[in-house]
Symmetry: D2
């Protein structure tokens, strides 16, 4: 049986571009998805702006009066997956409003727990894909990976990949290049290497966590953490 | 045999306070260390400012003309440990210069590889501890955890903990509280819970990675990534 | 004539709360607005979620197919004002999706120029107000003030103010406090001082810029920067 | 009399490179310095690592036991200047340890006040220069400009400039380019334009602030802020 069969991944494209076909971020996400699919992972790429997703720190914004909220369905698909990759463009050096919205809506469930009593997202692996034309891959990755870690995802080594062009405005990932049949960035060894390593590390980690039956339990259950060796009982001057 | 015996951890205190006894960050680090030591982990807390550590993106700054550089010895201890926790105070909302220096010096080795050909820090678990009197725990954690992830550490869920007081200047972690025999912050349920969960998650993850013989190999070796299913061969428009 | 008469300010509340009456961030924005109004400034507070504002790096998202886009009208009010204050709640340590959206939509006009040929927002003063219950005032302020500066606003000293409670979940700004008739945070000397200083500094700066007839022209006009003493002609090894 | 004569600027190079001649960041700083010097500003470029500067949140680290601390002398020069530009390389997406150290040492004086009772750095203009080979100009600028604003500097529009190469490792600013007599980045129109605009905006702002006799006084004096219209007296529900 292939090493990674039985795993599943959701890739969330948080582009500001309404038409998925025109999203640059989708193209790099697609390559990550391609690696995973080839290795036996069931992959789903969701274009956030194909959906109506409400603002608010709640699970379902129809409870706030919105007519429609597609988030609960998307969240269900994220919960069914072992891996989550958030893809974002860079604007003014930071992640998009849509990526921020996705993270807020993930966070709205963070007081829920899984069957072991750990926070809901324990036992899953998280990463991110960033594209822009100038600057900010790491700044976006810092915020996204931190948010995923904070709500319960485990983050493998080198869990981000991205592409930007040289300083200043210019073409974006996948734009045509005059005099070349290779679109912009498609042959970037750095981007391809990082996308490859990230994809494999997410699969390895998800495999390991699944084989372990989830993130190990003990000391990390909100309801019972005091019963394990805990911080409150440690001498702050012992070391 | 205890679950976590055989594991080791280095906690790096990047306080700006010269005398370790007066460092507030050390106190919270000490509690994290106490949990790990109680659970059988060999723990070492290193106070950066007890050492002379040079500036420069090199492994040893005596090669740049410094008389002394204590970093190579510290780095050796970090390499021998399964877990690294970086502790930092917050100044102006961000991590300290000493924490930034520690990360730069870790990064100077990042082109080295381990026995499997992966980046040097693969197979280890990383976390952080942050204290201040006002604001900035998450901003510090974002930068530190990202840096650790980027160079090869795996980051477990909820890998940061911290303490700050209310908005504005005020007492720091462990300062005396008038009319109470509990120093400031020692009874913060939130801080104690997060410190506990972080400590356990680092131990669980380090245990799992050690039992696996390191982070799984495949697709994540710099010299051979092209031989695995890789990004360069994936259709950017498949998904 | 009062010192600040003739000035105007827009305060943009980027809360995730749909009902303005329930927004904690509005309460601190209201105090900033109160100072300005008392000093003769024409103040307008806009609650972003009272409006339908589209996603996209365009001036008007109806051009992308949206039925409605209230942003162009809001942008017109921002352009008429001398001062812009962005108010945001903190979620997971960073500014809200709504604040990120507001900045993206401001940025979509950034290639426009004013009558002097400078970028559109030159000659205006910018600041921010941040509230949360735990941590992240400075991280939000960094991103917001940078964005405003980058697109042309001038940033006075201490251009941010905020309120958060102690570490961990808890009441928000203006929530009732048991056994007290002062709602949470209303008597925070630190928050009140910073809100006061920020408000006055924005008014002073806006007054000065208005009296100067805008930000001084020379070397900062996109179309003619090369005609002034410019970087391309300077010896990179002179200093 | 030339428009900017009588003004002075300190540019602080926070490179990790010990030998100033080899610092890439110095080269872009030098171009900024060149513009200012040509326009009549008295310019001084200080290479931080030419000096011994201690760690610690104090004005003078010899009070903590250090043999030498060159910071008080550097601080004196910064206080005499109307403009401060902090130059930093990017490492792992963020500003250098040396830049962080410089900001900490500036901050250690922040409870001091000027002759008007305002915080010490009021009335001065601040900016930053960032170079790297890959990614992070804006992330560095956010932290540096925020810190300068927070301690009292005024930040003009577009107060940062920088250069990075394409994604991934590569040559740095000013490195030789094979087959060209123009070193890397020297002909970047984007970098030159931003460096030019930043330099002029800093000069314009410093000139205006000097002509005003400093940042206007009123509502922004720590000792007397309560006597002006202040936040504590404003109705949080008025707007």
């Amino acid at each position: 049986m292939p090493q990674f069969s039985g795993l599943s991944a959701v890739l969330l494209n948080c582009s500001l571009v309404h038409d998925p076909a025109k999203s640059h971020t989708r193209r790099l996400l697609s390559r990550v998805a391609g690696i995973m699919a080839t290795e036996g992972v069931a992959v789903e790429l969701i274009h956030m702006l194909d959906h109506r997703i409400g603002f608010g720190m709640v699970k379902d914004t129809t409870t706030l009066g919105d007519d429609v909220d597609d988030w609960p369905a998307i969240h269900g698909r994220i919960m069914n997956a072992d891996i989550l990759v958030i893809g974002t463009p860079i604007w003014l050096g930071v992640k998009s409003s849509v990526a921020t919205l996705a993270i807020e809506r993930l966070y709205a469930y963070s007081s829920d727990t899984n069957a072991s009593g750990q926070y809901l997202y324990y036992g899953k692996a998280g990463g991110c894909v960033v594209t822009g034309n100038e600057d900010g891959v790491k700044a976006c990755a810092m915020e996204i990976l931190y948010a995923l870690s904070h709500i319960g995802y485990t983050i493998p080594p080198q869990a981000d990949c991205g592409w930007i062009g040289g300083i200043g405005p210019g073409p974006s990932y996948g734009d045509p290049v005059e005099g070349s049949d290779v679109p912009m960035g498609y042959d970037s060894e750095f981007t391809n290497k990082n996308a490859t390593i990230m994809s494999w590390n997410l699969m390895h980690l998800a495999r390991s966590l699944k084989d372990l039956g989830g993130f190990p339990v003990g000391g990390n259950v909100a309801a019972t953490w005091k019963e394990s060796t805990n911080a409150a009982d440690q001498d702050p001057d012992r070391f």
